[in-house]
């Protein structure tokens, strides 16, 4: 019985993969990559009710154009489009890193520049009222900005001698400020370890582990 069910399943999956993949492989891969670049890159294991849609978060509306210079288009552009541009730039840096051009000075500086952008966005979000992070969309934006900052900072840090000293200093400053803010929000109960999932940067996980919640500012 088990063998028959297995054969049936394999027949379906095999037929689907072979024929579907052969005919529509390129289109499927482009659709999937579109999904990856557009969707929120926050933990798949996080509680869905705690994390919403970062691109439409009110804090992103207030902060994105302070971080992203789109010139005179800023007044016409929707903030969620600005957020998408920042994510698209991040994808590009990711692809450069995946391509493995470690000796390329520009790609290393690219990682630092992306880290600084996300760090500035996170800093701007943390500067808003603490209770703003009770909103799932705002919290998702915060989690994504913080996670991306530390991920790219680590990537840039691996090639520290080649990145400009001022960029390295800016990243260090942002790192200190963000870790402080994270500690506060951990104590306020606005951020918990599960929001960042299991694969977050060690710096973030350390704060989440060592700090304890003292009150829940989201409870009314």
């Amino acid at each position: 019985m088990f063998r028959q069910i297995l054969t049936l399943m394999l027949a379906f999956v095999g037929g689907f993969l072979v024929v579907g993949g052969w005919i529509w492989g390129p289109k499927i891969s482009s659709a999937v990559s579109g999904l990856v670049s557009a969707g929120p890159s926050i933990s798949l294991f996080a509680d869905a009710s705690r994390l919403g849609r970062p691109e439409v978060a009110p804090v992103v509306r207030s902060c994105i154009f302070r971080v992203l210079d789109v010139g005179s288009d800023a007044s016409k552009m929707e903030p969620s489009a600005g957020y998408f541009i920042l994510k698209a730039g991040t994808m590009q840096a990711n692809i450069s890193a995946l391509a493995g051009k470690r000796e390329d000075r520009r790609s290393e500086y690219g990682a630092a520049a992306v880290a600084i952008k996300w760090g500035e966005l996170a800093q701007c979000i943390y500067a808003q009222d603490d209770r703003e992070l009770c909103d799932p969309d705002n919290r998702a934006a915060m989690v994504e900005a913080t996670t991306k900052f530390f991920a790219f900072a680590k990537q840039a840090d691996a090639s520290k001698p080649t990145i400009p000293a001022d960029a390295a200093r800016a990243m260090d400053n942002l790192s200190d400020k963000l870790l402080n803010a994270l500690k506060n929000h951990r104590r306020y109960g606005t951020l918990v370890a599960a929001d960042f999932g299991s694969f977050a940067a060690p710096e973030i996980m350390r704060v989440m582990r060592e700090e304890k919640e003292t009150r829940d500012i989201c409870k009314r």
Partner: protein, 196 residues
């Protein structure tokens, strides 16, 4: 016994391929028009001439002040949804309002019926997202989809149902909920399309 087993396996492989192809066609490639009912009223949606005839309407929709516009800055609408709402309204307005007789041609009718389904699906999707945020967001989305062009589309749909240019059977199993009452109300209306 061996032959039966072999035939069973072949049947399941072919079944898997058939189901897989159709799922990909519908959900990944979005060719929902392939699943509309056939018959003398409905042609081949891919050959609809109205599609190309309406390309100019989609060139710079931002210049058309009658298309959907946000009335507030405080909203949770993603820019891609906003762009879709504007473009779909501009396109459907062209198919139904600018070219009111386009729907009389079989291929155009198949394409337009499919597009009406997508139009209402987008609206429902945005309303479902808005419900998570409460009444204010719901009214923002409703206002967005209540532009003069959307109202003109609603009027044209009502007229098409009244005069039999659109009937329930054209939509097959996927009649948009918003259109059901008007299609039910005018069941049996005779098609008043000009005869060639």
């Amino acid at each position: 016994m061996l032959e039966v087993n072999f035939l069973m396996r072949v049947a399941f492989v072919l079944g898997g391929i058939f189901v897989g192809i159709n799922l990909i066609n519908y959900y990944v490639l979005g060719n929902s028009g392939d699943y509309l009912p056939g018959g003398p009223r409905m042609g081949e949606w891919k050959q609809a001439k109205i599609r190309e005839a309406c390309y100019p309407a989609l060139e710079s929709p931002e210049r058309d002040g009658l298309l959907p516009k946000l009335t507030t800055n405080k909203h949770r609408i993603d820019w891609r949804d906003l762009t879709n709402a504007v473009e779909m309204t501009a396109a459907l307005n062209c198919y139904l309002v600018t070219h009111p007789n386009a729907i009389c041609e079989r291929n155009n009718r198949a394409y337009i019926v499919d597009y009406i389904g997508r139009y209402f699906l987008k609206f429902d999707e945005m309303m479902n997202t808005a419900r998570r945020y409460g009444d204010s967001e719901i009214s923002t989305v409703k206002d967005l989809w209540d532009s003069p062009r959307n109202r003109a589309i609603n009027m044209a749909l009502m007229q098409s149902a009244t005069n039999g240019r659109l009937i329930k059977a054209d939509f097959g199993w996927s009649v948009p909920a918003a259109m059901k009452p008007m299609l039910d109300r005018y069941t049996g209306a005779t098609d008043n399309c000009p005869r060639a």
